[in-house]
Structure formats: structure tokens, C-alpha cells
Amino acid sequence: MAENNADMLHKEYWDLNYVSGPLVFLENGERFPTGAILDVHLTNGELRQGQILEATSTHAVLQILQGTRGIDVKGTSVSLKAEGARVACSEDVIGRRFNGTGQPIDGLPPVVPDKELDINGSAINPVSRDAPNDFIETGISAIDGFNTLVRGQKLPIFLGSGLPANEIANLIVQNSGTKGDDRPFVVVFAAMGITARETQYFLNAFEEGGKGSQVVAFINQADDPAIERIFTPRCALTVAEYLAFEKGYQVLVVLTDLTNYCDALRQVSSAREEIPGRRGYPGYMYTDLSTIYERAGRIRGNPGSVTQIPMLTMPDDDITHPIPDLTGYITEGQIVLSRPLHRQGIFPPVDLLPCLSRLMNNGIGEGKTQDWHREWSNQLYAAYAEGQRIKKLMAIVGEDALTPLDKKYLKFCNEFERKMIGQGFDRRDIEDTFRIGWELMGYLPKSELTRIKASVVDQYYKSAEDLAAEADGIEAKIENA
């Protein structure tokens, strides 16, 4: 019992009686509290860690972080390491690299902790939360113009394998926390089961972009123990919350790849012989994911913020797969990547229609972007959707069967993908995004633009013909000169 903690610490028990998958069952359930971290001493002298998942009077279930290979029930012993999983927090973590459980892997000595915090954190009291409303200009039209990111938001990127999501995440990292904002900024990077190549890409990209000294990395690679992945995002977010809410940083957390995390979760669930939910993932996956994603936000009267960019692979590009599906229900929108656009060489290949930013309204409008930003975006969205519909129709009935208006939408749709979405690797500021949007609306008759206030349309709308004529005029002038 708890009173005997002092004695229990370091005291070894040879309690093991059953090993299965990543789990070990101990025959005495009353020694350790749930959530406790144990040291596992293998017969060959190796030391591993495990966490108590469940305790009953007959047994306790211990989840081994580094896998159970080599563990036997006779010689292996356990001892209490800590009553719960904790991570060392200090401003000194900035610039450091850790493994998935918070141990340094950059060859430097351990961080001297200012605080050691429980990695599970606690829920932010909803009345303490401040509504996120600072516009983050990412320099990507598809995000800034149509799915605006705000500080304190959690906006995931849904990708298909082989799509350039990492590049997009890097662009967001490079562009946030800059431009007229001198509050301290830090990136917390949590890698779960990604390849060494991907890890290298991120770390190099951060370095090249001049963000290297502002990064805290928690890295669990594909060849690292899978169970460690369950701890990785929690360690990263605990540090992120510490830096944001105790030290006042603007923290951007990049989590990749949540699909690997969920697979680790499934692995543990199946070893515990739990009743599986959809596709074998545990029924509590929504709740589990929410304890990760909900750790984003702002707190009233506190200068810091935690913004999350989780990335996940949609298996077989299927957005209804449980992982993207449950994620979409928790996060405040999503950025979805498109394979067809990628094949056409459009970068960033953002599939605009299923994208969404729920907090967009708070980040835009008068004094932030433009008072007509919302209407402008809705108009372009609706027109692009109509164009997409006509594109499909054309595939069936042929271009000749289309009405003249349909053809205008078709032209708009193609130009929109080419000019607006396909901006390439260059940063584009929001004014440019707006200008291009108005240019594109020129392909449509003015009477179609009923989602924008008449006065605004009158001020900005120029038909494509007028624009072409203007451009000719300018060229003519240049030639004359």
C-alpha cells in the first residue's frame, strides 16, 4: 500500500506469471498503483520500463515499453520506479532531442528539471479557456484564405502515403510565430514511428529554416519500440503546456504520424483481449485521442498558447477510416491532401472541398484580414464545388453538352487549381491570396457572385475580359515606352 512507498522503492518482486505481446501479468495486484512506472530487471541484466494498466486483487497488467522479447517469468523482476509517468520540464529542453519517453538521445546530459510533470496532464477547465482568435499567416493560400489557422487551434493534416505532407508541415512551422510577433516561439516536434529519413527531413528543414534552436524533439522512430509511441505525444504535450502556460511561449506542436500511434494503441488493446471496435481499434480510441488533441488552446490571462498540427496517414486514402474519422470529430477542422492534384504536379496538393477550419471565423474579419474574408471564401468554395461537379458531368456527357455558364465554371475550376491552390513553394501573403481570388472570380459572371455583399463585389470585381484588356493596355504602354 501507499504508506510503504519508501520501502517499496527499489524493492524487487519476482511476480511475473504470464507474458503476451507487449504485456506482462504480475500475480500480485496490490503492490503498485495503476499508472505506476516499474523498472523491469531482465535476467541478462538489461533494464526496461513498464506501466501498470490495470490492477485487480489477483493480478496486475504491466505494459512493457521496450517489448517483451527476452523476458521470462522466473528470473525477471520488477520494482517501482515512479508512481506515474513523468517528464522533466525546464526551459533548457529547447534545442534538445529526446526519445519517445523523454530520455535524452542527443548525447548531452539529462535536463535538470524545473518541474517533473505527469505526462497525462489534466483537462483545461473550459471556463479558463480563452477563445483562440490570433490569425497565423502560414503563407499557404489554401490555408490562409480558406481554412485559416489560429493560435490555440488543433488543425490536423490528413495525408495519403506518398503525398508531400511533411513539406506542408514544414512551411507552417517556418511561417508561424514570425511577422510582427516578438513573443517567444518554440516548436515541439513529436515523431511516432516515422522513418529515420523523415526524422532527418524535419530536423534538417527546421535547421535550414533557422528554427533549429527553437525545436524540442521527441523521437520514436519506426524501429523503436511501438509501445513507447503511446508515451511520445504525451511527453511532448506536457513539455508544450509547460512552456506555453508557465513560461509564456507560443508553442507549435507537430505530431506525426498519429496512425502509428493508433496502431500501437490497437496492439495493446488486442493483447489485453478487449472487445475490438471498428477495424480492430479499441472502442475508447475517441477518448484516448481526445486526451491528446484537446491539449491545445489558450488560457485566459496567460500569454502562452499551444497550437497543434497533428499529421496522420489515411490508410488507402480513406477519410472514413476510424483514425481520420475520430480525429476529425475532435480537432477543429482538417487539411486534406489530394492524390489527383499531386499527380498533376500541383503543390501544395490540398483537396480544398473536405478541408475545414472551425475556428476560421475567430481569426479573420475586420482588423485581422478583411471584413469580407468569410464571404469571399464561401463564394470561391461554392464556385469551386460547382466547377468540380461540372467536371464530373463533363466526363459523362462531354463538353459540348454543357451550357455556356457551365463552361465558365469549368474554366474557373481549372484556373483555381492552377493559380490559387498550386502556388508552389513560395510563401504567399494574404493580400496576394485575396487578389488572386478576385482575379479568378473574373471568369464568372458578376451575377453569380451572390454570396458576397453587392457593395464589395462592385468594388473588387473585374471580369476576365476587363482584366485581359487592362493587361494588354499595360503591355502596350510598356512597349510604347
Binding site: 486483487s57 496532464g121 484537446e294 488560457i299 476510424p322 476529425g328 475545414l356 472551425r358 468569410r374 451572390t450
Partner: protein, 594 residues
Amino acid sequence: MAVAETQQTGKLVRIAGPMIEADGMHGVQMGEILRVGKLGLMGEVIRIEGEKIFAQVFESTEGMYLGEAVEATGAPLSAELGPGLLAGTFDGIQRPLKTLQESSGDFIGRGITAVALDRNKQWAYTPVAQIGQQVVGGDTLGTVPETKVIEHKILVPPGVSGTIASIKAAGDYTVEEVIATLEDGTELKMYHKSPVKISRPVHKFLPPTEPFLTRQRVLDMLFPIAKGGSAIIPGGFGAGKTVVEQSMSKYSNAQIIVYVGCGERGNEMAEVLTEFPELVDPNTGESLMNRTILVVNTSNMPVAARDASVYTGMTLAEYYRDQGYDVALMADSTSRWAEALREISSRLEEMPGEEGYPTYLSERIAAFYERCGNAILCGSDATGDNPRKGSLTAVGAVSPPGGDFSEPVTQTSMQVSGALWALDSALAYRRHYPSLNWNKSYSLYFEGLKGWFDENAPAGWNDRRQQAATLLQRENELMDIVQLVGPDALQDAERLILEVARMIREIFLQQSAFSDNDAACQLDKCFGLLESILIYGEECEKVLAKEIPLTRITDLPLREQIARLKEEPNDGFTAVKDKVIENFKQALGALEAN
């Protein structure tokens, strides 16, 4: 018969996530509240096996040891009902979040006990009942101005009756002070407790006859529900469930709103908490918070408390209904509640039903929606000529996995609710909001409400509604043809149908929740907008009859003028609309065959 001695304290023998087992407890009841472990976490008994009980715990069980004490409290999960609820924000077990913030800071700690109602606040009480009066449960003892807009009626609790022996004079009292006694010695205070999982009694349920007006055109016109009815809003993520629920909370004609955020986003609740106090209730001119109660259990708060949160919300709603108000309960999202049931059920190792949900899921959902209704309230006047009435309307959001409505939560909710407002991701992708799919949605209340609309809505309401519904159906059929052979194959008359249906969709059905003039649409504007589109269609038909091609009509800038009507404010809308109709009639009439 000898009764076994009740043993109120046992010890923990198993901890599995949100579920615990405790041994050595006799005489504990199903549903009884426990205090678990050293922290005294709240738990609820969900199974009894002899001396062993199973309980769901409303807070995280991490760090607990087996052998820690478990104590029974003798009472089921109950809500405190009295003045001080309105404008409040509570968690699933009715702890005020402000109090939690004061005691544990910005992050929610564990094992904090907090009472729902402020014990020190003084309320200006005015008695209504008199000494010697016979009272029964539901009668009003006195009133308290709870907020600027809501007069709180202090009720005799259900099941209590007798003759008033003493009653306090008008004055300021706290909720703990006794304000009246009955001759049998029963002391009555300004608040009482009510078990949340049992519905509060009413004298009699009445058929619903008045509409619950949401101020959303597509709902009020095509799929209206009644005060006392229930509706579900299923939709994939991003379809706009939350925006619809929030719009209804802001603009509907309910007098009291109870908003239950069950297993949803913290930032969304933060939005509600910043936005609502600033918004003015169009009916009263006061802050919206004055008629709102928030029950918040965000997705990362303990799972078992989700189950508690929907019942707590329902009980608070019933309590205000019992005072004679029209109450609306918004539950966002009932799927998270069902998932909590599934999680607990799976920890109990119960035999699962469909998709792992427990077999009693449908029973629980049905019991929840059946607590809605339009009712004659309990009280001495219930059988009199002029009984008091109240209504409780519930709207539950459903979050079907993958947007697939065939899953159990959507299906069972459909069976018991009176209206289906099906949201469609495909419409949301086009930014068609509210993304209500008019082909899939339905309301069973419309027939019962026809009479009300005939009397109170602009003349022709029911006919225009039918016309619109028919046009949308025709569009559907024609679009099937277009998909096969292209729009070229259609006659002008059919193209006109497509054009008018498109106007209904884009001008009438779409409504921006973020536009000042469009977010809430009164009946006059709702009708006027539809009427102008339909009259436009009729006028165009006349023009077509003169053998004038449709393209000459659509070249006129008339459609745009009708579309711009949306931006007109509710006040004075009819005059502007009449002008627009006049204008296009003239323009169309002027067209001549050449």
C-alpha cells in the same frame, strides 16, 4: 424478516480505467453514489454481485491503490435545483466550473467537491403561498428574480404534500434557509435535490401543437418541430452540427436553453462562453446567458461523467419546465454519451450488441428522448380549468462514424425522435449551410402544426411549403436525367424547374450563421423569401408560354436581386420584398417574343 446489516464501507479490489470493483459492501443500491479511494472520487454503482459492487468513476482513477476505501453515500446521482442555475456553467456531475477554477486553477484537479448552488448568495424571495394552504408537489411557494429575464418559481418538490404551517415573509434569503414548513414538520428550502436518472413527474402530456421556431429557414419551413418534440441532427464531422445547435440556442423561441456539451471540444465551449454573454436575446433584449445553462464535459474530461452530463442537463431542463417555461435542451453530442456507455459496458465484460454497443443502448436513448414533451404540470391546479403548462424540447446531435447513418446510435435515435435533420458532408463541402439534406430529412410534427401555421404564419404558408418541396423533388428527378444525357437534352420548362430549384437551394435554404441580417430569420422573411422565388418561377412560366426562350429570361439581372433580399433585415422585409416582386414582374412582363 431479518434485514442484513448494511455495510457502507468496502475496499477496492480492481481498477480498470473508469471502472472499479469494491468488495465488502452490503445493502448498496444500483445507481448509488460512492466516494472512492483517498481522494473521495465520485462513482456510481452499476452492478452488484453479492458483496462485490462495480462502479463507474466520474474522475480519473490513475494512481489509486487496491485496498483503498470505498464509501457509499446512500443517495443516487442527484442534481441540485434552485435559483442560481441560470447563466451557470457546470461539469457533468453539476460542479460549477468557476468553483473548480478557484480551487484547482486552470486545469481541473481531482477529488474536488463543490456544490452546484452558491450557499452564501442571498435571493430576493417573495412568497406566493399562504399559511393554511394545501400544497402538493409542483405548487409554487414563492418567486425569486433569478436573472433579469427569468422569474424563478420556488416549487414544492415532487412527492411532497401537506398544509403550510409557516412561510417566510418577503426578503433576502440564502438557498439553505427554510422558507416554509408543512404541518407534518417538513421543512422546505429554496432548493431541493432530484435524482437525475428518473424523470420528474408531470400531470399529463399533451399533443404538441405549437412550433419550436429555430429561426433557420430550412427547419422552420420544411422540417418544423413542435415545442415538446425532439429532433436529432446526425452528420459527419464538419457538417455543421454544432453551428446549428448553437444557432438554435441563440435565436429559437424557447425561454430557457440548457446546452449540454458532451464529449466535445473545449475550444468550442470557450467560444460559447465568450460569445453568449455578449449576445442579446432578441426576445428580451438581455444577455443570452440570462436564459442559458451550460453543462460541459469536454472530450478529455472523464468518460463516465459524459453519461452523467446528459442526465444532469435533462433534469435541469425538466425543472424549468416544471416552473412553466418552454425549455430547449441541446445535447452535443449524444454519440459520445453512447460511446461512454460502450466503454463501461466493455469493462464490465457484458455481451456486446451491434458494433460493441451494449444491448440496452436503445432503451437508454429512448428513455432519454421520452422525457421531452408538452405537458400539464403537477400541482393543485392541474385538474382545474386553467392548469399551468410547460414544454421541454430536445435536440440531440449524433456523430455517426464515417458519416454512415446505418450505425446503431443514429438508427436507435431515429426511432424515438420525432424529426430527423440529416446533415450532409457533400453540402458542407460546397459551403451550403445549414448542410441539411432535404431528401433525407423529415419531421413527424408537421401535420400537427399545420393549424398553428394557418393561424399565425403569413397566409399561404402551408401551400408554399408544399410547392417548394415538390420543386426540390422534381429537381432531383431531372438531375438524374442530366447526369445521363447532359443539360442540353432538357426542354426550357424543365430547365426552368432546375433554375427555380437552384434558387430555392441557394437563396432560401442556405443561411449564413455569421451574417448579422441572415443568422436569424423570422417567419415573415422566411415566407417572403420563398414566396418571391416561387412567384418568380410562376412569372417565368408565363413568359415561356409566349415562346420566349429561357436564356432571354436568365440574361436579365433578376435572380441576383432576389438573392440580395437575404441581406435585408427582418424588420420591414415585406415592403422591400414586395418591391422586388413588383420589379421582376414588370421586367418579365415586358419581354416580348421577337
